[in-house]
Amino acid sequence: MHRSDSPHPDSPPCASRREALRLCGGALAGLASGLCTPAFANDDPAGARPQAGDRLVLADGEGQRAPLRLADIEAGAKPLMALPLDAASGTVRDGSRLNKLLLLRLDPASLEPSAARNAADGVVAFSAVCTHQGCNITEFSTEKGLLLCFCHFSQFRPAAGGERVAGPAPRRLPMLPLKLEGDVLVVADGFTSRPGATL
């Protein structure tokens, strides 16, 4: 079997050396190299995956963006598109679309344990990239409480930790665990699973 592994100008970088090693392991390194540029290029904080201590900012903001606070997330509203902010360097991690996040504020009493343990006073964060073919998740049904992917109509339940409830996606949406420092939303840990398509 021939496989094109050479880095291509259009190929995105891998998330980070540490994450790639964690996700791939030695035996699967070859497979991972087929999915991204095998240069572990992202020591650049903008392209690195969110890490503990990161803050969150609105994805469509410009210039200096203020870290989001609990009061910025309206309960029961449609999800906000957000990005992680490297607190140390002040860099918004917008170098990879796999860092896009959906923020929702749900009734804490409605959260199942898989969501509650990663929530901050009802605020939950999910990867905004569908686990089927990698499309952006932009739609939310407030009636059904479901996130919806426009490409192939996979549906996910945020209150159940991003569980897939319909459509072709083979796995749940990765969560990004959150905590509060004062009233500021802070990333508590990395994604619960690899964001992006399942190929």
């Binding site: 021939h2 291509h8 891998c14 190299s33 990879s96 073919q133 499309c135 952006n136 919806l148």
Partner: protein, 572 residues
Amino acid sequence: MSSRTKLIAAMLAFAPLASLAALPSYAPVTDARLASPESQNWLSYRGNYSGWGYSPLKQITSDNVGKLTLAWSYATGMKEGHQSPPIVNNGYMYISTPNNQVIAFEAATGKELWRYQKSIPEELMQLHPTNRGVALYGDRLYLATTDANLVALDARTGAELWVKPVADWRKGYYMTLAPLAAKGKIMVGSSGGEYGIRGFIAAFDAETGAEAWRTYTIPAPGEPGGETWPGDTYKHGGGSVWITGNYDPSTGIAYWGVGNAGPWMPDTRAGDNLYANSTLALDVDTGKLKGYHQYHFNDAWDWDEVSAPLLIDVDHGGRKVKSLVHAGRNGYLWMLERSDGPIGFVDAWPYVTQNVFKSIDKKTGRPTYDPSHTPGTHKTVTFCPSLWGGKDWPPEAYNPQTGLLYIPANNNLCSELTGEPTKYSAGELYIGVALDNILTNVRMGEPARKHVGEVQAWDLKTGKKVWTHTYPEMNWGPLLTTGGNLVFGGGTNDRKFRAFDASTGQVLWEYPASSGVTGVPSSFEVDGEQYIAVQAGWGVDAQRMQGAFDAVLPHKTVVPQGGTVMVFKLAR
């Protein structure tokens, strides 16, 4: 390198050659062969440059097709839409699958010769995870990929020769079509109309991969047709090209179909919006636009007219017409006339229920619209046919023996859409209709609840329909017709692949596949034995339509996914 490693490397290096032992040496694919393909081969997407989907082979006939049996099958290991034809050159078979995979076989036995898969960028989103086939030219094979690259492989070994970026996938450009090969060039077009791309057709040198020309389907200000786009709307005007063009070697002109204008709501881009929803005539040497016909202006219905017209010389209206025939997504069957440049209008008539066009100009073919069935921003209307049209991408077929054109149609189906304001952002969806609306767009009256899918046969001389076969639900089945008075096609959610009597429409044979069959069928011959080949593998738009049906029908239908190559022959 250890001795064991050396041994494995040597085995791998010689594996392709060893497996070729039973095959003749590979015959390069030339312009002459593509222009007059041998009956035993299927050298290109539709079997010939005219786009007929016709094999002259006649060992398998309407009399004996009932004895058709599976010769071999092969699981591709991929899910989603398997749509490419098995392409065959003197016993070598090539198929492509979703995720940019190509597999080469010994056509008569199913023995795998080699397999190639281009790596997929981690961040790529695949709205249409499919591939509609490869092109053979010289001793090479060409693949257009969903990350918008053109790949050249050695057809004998599968070795990657070069990879050329065609467009920026981060901005929503992607490719799913089989390339068109002619006059030393490999031609492709780009999908991405739903992401606000600016569509194009581009040609690359078959040897080096150097870009020879690029012609945008959406003209800029100052270019002919540029005045049909207000302001900067042309920059994100869609006009994607995702089905292979057909080609007239006598004039050196290729005919390409162009998709819908974007975003979907027509008031966002007031004007005709050339050359969206058109057929373009392009000079293969230069890419120069030699002629066009726009089937409908200022599209509002997502009616891509992306299927290339079939080149058919026909007696019509008391004269010989070098025609271009196209079963439009807009529900009309169009007969145009080709020349060494301009495209003329001959005739058009509805082949499915259509409530949008009020009239068709007899000289130009330009329609007038019923505004009550024309969507707009903050406006809700129903219209027929549905947004998937009377016929989406699955190709028609033409049989010169019967003189009939065969159409895989969806009839009686309508849509309801409400336009919403939308804003362009690179790589993001740019439609202007809410997703919930698209999910629930289907409107089914009593006729649709009786049947939707059809296979239709039309006599082009008279403009009359000769026979119709109906299915309870949808038809997404590309068609093949043969010299044995047969039509083959799948496309239904019961996973059946069928053979029809080409003259009468009678179903003569059917086979329950492992998944729904939306692949383009082909036929070939090896050692005097005729085969019928097709891929099963439900997905992409057929699955989307199934989801929309599930939303309005009292029952839900599960069509399993997973690709399988199936090759049939007569039982001995």
